[in-house]
C-alpha cells in the first residue's frame, strides 16, 4: 500500500502530474550540465562567455571546446543514454530492478569482445562495438537460459545472481588479457572502471550506428516491453511471444552496452541508478520511462564526468570511479529493500 513509489509520487504529483514533465526536466538537466561541462575544466570559462566561445572561431576557448570538451560531452551523453536504456531493458527482461548491464555481466562480456579487437586487430577500431556486441550476447545467452529455467520471483533473483557470477568470471578473463598483453592493452585500472579521458569525435562516431540500431529496436518493442512486465503467463495470454521479445530486448541492451563500452570501458551503475530513480517518478510504463531514462542517463554521466574532472584538479579521476561510489551504495540499498 505505501510503496516507495507511491510515497514519492504523491508528493511530487502536486508539482508534476504529467510523466512527460519529467522528461523535460531531464532534458533541461542535460543542457545545463553540458553548459557547465563546457565551461569548466582544467581552465575555467565564465558562463556568460560560453555562447561566444562556441560560435566565434577566434575565441581563445573555441578550440578547447570543439576539440576537447564538446566531443567528450557528446560521448558522455551517448554513453549515459546507452547504458541507462540498457539498464531499463534488462530490468524489464529479467523482471527485477536489480538488473543492469554491469551486474549481469553484459558489460564485462562486451569488454572481453572489445579487448579482443584492441589487442589482436588494433587497426580496426571500427569493429570494436560489434565485437563487444558479440561478447555481450554471450552473457545475454547465459542469462536468458537461466531466466527460462524457473518462473516467478525466485527465478529472477537467480538470474541476477548468475549474472554476478558471470561477471566475476569475465572480469578475470579481462584481467588476464590485460596482464599478458600489458604493452598493447589499455590501462587496466582505467578500463575496468570506465573513463571518458581522451575521447574525441571519432569515438562518438563509432558509437553512433550501434546506438541508433539499439534505439530502433526499442521503438519497435515499446508496447511489448510493457506487457513483459506482467508475468510470462499473462503476457503470453495477451499474444506476446515472450521468449522472442525477451531476446530482442536483451539483444538491444547488449548492443547499447557494447556501444558504450567501445568508447568508455566498463562503466557501471548508470543502468542501475537512472532507470530505478526515473521509475519512482514516472511509473513503469515504458512510453514514459524510456525517454526520461535516456536523457537522465546522459545528464548523469556528463555531470559525473564534470565532477570527476574538476574535484581533484589537475588530477582527472575516471568517471566510472565516481559512478561506482554513488551506484554501489544505491545497489546495496535496493538489495536491502528487496530482500527485507
Amino acid at each position: 500500500m505505501n510503496s516507495l513509489f507511491w510515497q514519492v509520487r504523491s508528493r511530487t504529483e502536486i508539482i508534476f502530474d504529467q510523466p512527460s514533465a519529467w522528461t523535460l526536466v531531464c532534458a533541461i538537466a542535460l543542457v545545463v550540465a553540458s553548459a557547465f561541462a563546457m565551461a569548466n575544466g582544467a581552465v575555467d570559462l565564465a558562463l556568460q562567455e560560453l555562447p561566444a566561445s562556441i560560435v566565434d572561431v577566434d575565441h581563445p576557448f573555441h578550440a578547447v571546446i570543439w576539440d576537447v570538451r564538446l566531443p567528450r560531452i557528446v560521448c558522455g551523453a551517448i554513453v549515459g543514454m546507452d547504458l541507462a536504456l540498457a539498464g531499463a531493458l534488462l530490468q524489464t527482461t529479467v523482471r527485477n530492478p536489480l538488473a543492469d548491464p554491469g551486474i549481469l555481466g553484459v558489460t564485462a562480456g562486451a569488454g572481453v569482445g572489445a579487448l579482443f579487437v584492441i589487442l589482436f586487430a588494433p587497426g580496426h577500431s571500427e569493429w570494436i562495438p560489434w565485437a563487444g556486441f558479440a561478447g555481450g550476447m554471450l552473457a545475454v545467452g547465459t542469462l536468458l537460459s537461466f531466466a527460462a529455467a524457473k518462473r516467478g520471483q525466485a527465478g529472477t533473483l537467480r538470474v541476477v545472481l548468475s549474472g554476478v557470477a558471470l561477471q566475476s568470471v569475465l572480469f578475470a578473463v579481462i584481467a588476464l588479457m590485460t596482464f599478458i598483453f600489458a604493452d598493447r592493452a589499455p590501462a587496466f585500472a582505467a578500463y575496468i572502471v570506465g573513463s571518458l579521458n581522451g575521447l574525441g569525435w571519432s569515438d562518438a562516431g563509432r558509437m553512433l550506428l550501434p546506438s541508433l540500431l539499439g534505439l530502433a529496436a526499442i521503438v519497435g518493442i515499446v508496447r511489448t516491453l510493457n506487457l513483459l512486465l506482467l508475468d510470462d503467463s499473462a503476457a503470453g495470454g495477451l499474444g506476446v511471444h515472450v521468449v522472442r521479445s525477451r531476446m530482442v530486448a536483451a539483444s538491444a541492451a547488449a548492443l547499447l552496452t557494447a556501444a558504450a563500452v567501445s568508447a568508455a570501458g566498463l562503466i557501471g551503475f548508470v543502468g542501475l541508478v537512472v532507470p530505478n530513480a526515473i521509475r519512482l517518478l514516472v511509473g513503469p510504463q515504458h512510453g514514459d520511462l524510456l525517454p526520461a531514462t535516456a536523457l537522465g542517463g546522459a545528464a548523469l554521466v556528463v555531470v559525473a564526468d564534470l565532477v570527476a574532472r574538476t574535484v581533484l584538479a589537475p588530477l582527472e579521476l575516471p568517471v566510472g570511479a565516481l559512478l561506482s561510489l554513488v551506484g554501489g551504495p544505491y545497489f546495496l540499498y535496493l538489495l536491502w529493500r528487496k530482500l527485507a
Binding site: 506482467l230 495477451l238 499474444g239
Partner: protein
C-alpha cells in the same frame, strides 16, 4: 447457474482430446488421458482434489502448458497452430496468482488487455478507451482506475485482472482458481460477476474451483478430475453425488438439493471401493 434444458444442441467449441501433460522437469504425467469438451456459452467448473490436475487441464486449454500427447481444439482448429495474437483476441486467461509490477495503475493494467487488438505501433484509440472503461465498470472498480495495483485488496486486484481479461473482448474466459484466497463475500460477488458476464455477453467460461457448492452454484456443467483423468462431466446434480465424493474425494457425505441449491455436507473420511 441456469439449469435450463437447451432445445438447440450446443456446439463443442473448446475440446481437449486425450491429453497427456507433465510439468517440465518432472517425469510423471499430471494429466493422463484427460479429455474434456466445453459447450458454447456455458460455464464449466473443473473440480477435484489437490494434485488431480485441475490447474494443468485449465492451462492446457489456454495453451499455457506444453502437451506431450493429445491435442486441444478451439472451434475445430488445433490450438497449437493458432496464431498468438488471434488467440489472445478470442480467449483470455486469468492465471492463479499473477504478479504485477510496482507502480502499475489499474487503468494501465486493463489497457494491456487491448494490445492483442492493436498493431505494433498504434496507441489506444478512443474506442479502445471506451472498452477499457466498460471493463472497469463491469467489475465495478472504476473508482480505482488511477490507483496502483499493489494498493488494492486481494478481491479488488483479482477483479482488476478480470477487467483486463474482459478488455480483450474474449469469447472464452479461462480462470484458474479465481475464488481462492478471497473472503466469503468476495467469493460470492465474483461468482455472481461471472454469471452476469455469461448471461449478458454469452462468454464461454471455464474455471477451476475448490469449493463444490460454489461450483454447483455457478456452473452449468461440472467436470470432476481424479489423478489426472476426467472422472465424469455433467450437470452439478448428476456429477456431484455422494458416490463421486467417496470415489474421488474419499469422504462420506450427504448431498441435498434444496430450493435449487446443491448443499454438500461432509460427514467424514471414507474408503472408496473403487480405486480412482
Amino acid at each position: 447457474m441456469t439449469h435450463v434444458e437447451p432445445n438447440v444442441p450446443k456446439a463443442h467449441v473448446l475440446e481437449a482430446k486425450r491429453l497427456h501433460v507433465r510439468h517440465p522437469g518432472v517425469d510423471r504425467d499430471v494429466l493422463r488421458d484427460a479429455s474434456l469438451s466445453v459447450l458454447e456459452g456455458e460455464i464449466l467448473a473443473i473440480v477435484g482434489p489437490n494434485g488431480s490436475g485441475k490447474s494443468t487441464l485449465l492451462r492446457s486449454l489456454g495453451r499455457d502448458m506444453e502437451i506431450r500427447r493429445g491435442a486441444v481444439y478451439l472451434e475445430r482448429e488445433d490450438l497449437s497452430a493458432y496464431p498468438r495474437k488471434r488467440l489472445a483476441r478470442r480467449m483470455a486467461r486469468l492465471p492463479q496468482d499473477p504478479l504485477s509490477p510496482e507502480g502499475l495503475t489499474v487503468e494501465a493494467l486493463v489497457a494491456c488487455g487491448r494490445s492483442p487488438h492493436l498493431g505494433a505501433f498504434s496507441s489506444l484509440a478512443p474506442a479502445d478507451q471506451d472498452i477499457v472503461s466498460e471493463a472497469l465498470d463491469a467489475v465495478e472498480i472504476a473508482d480505482f482506475r488511477t490507483r496502483p495495483i499493489e494498493s488494492l485488496s486481494g478481491g479488488e486486484r483479482r477483479r482488476a485482472w478480470i477487467a483486463m481479461a474482459l478488455a480483450q473482448e474474449p469469447r472464452f474466459l479461462l480462470l484458474d482458481e479465481p475464488t481462492s484466497a478471497l473472503d466469503l463475500r468476495h467469493q460470492f460477488e465474483l461468482l455472481e460477476l461471472l454469471g452476469r458476464l455469461n448471461r449478458e455477453r454469452g462468454t464461454t467460461i471455464v474455471l477451476s474451483i475448490h469449493d463444490l457448492a460454489h461450483a454447483a452454484l455457478v456452473a452449468d456443467r461440472v467436470a470432476v478430475l481424479s489423478r489426472g483423468r476426467v472422472y465424469a462431466v455433467g450437470t452439478p446434480e448428476y456429477v456431484l453425488s455422494e458416490e463421486t465424493l467417496l470415489d474421488v474425494f474419499r469422504v462420506r457425505s450427504k448431498v441435498e438439493l434444496e430450493d435449487g441449491v446443491l448443499g454438500v455436507k461432509i460427514l467424514g473420511p471414507g474408503d472408496p471401493i473403487r480405486n480412482f
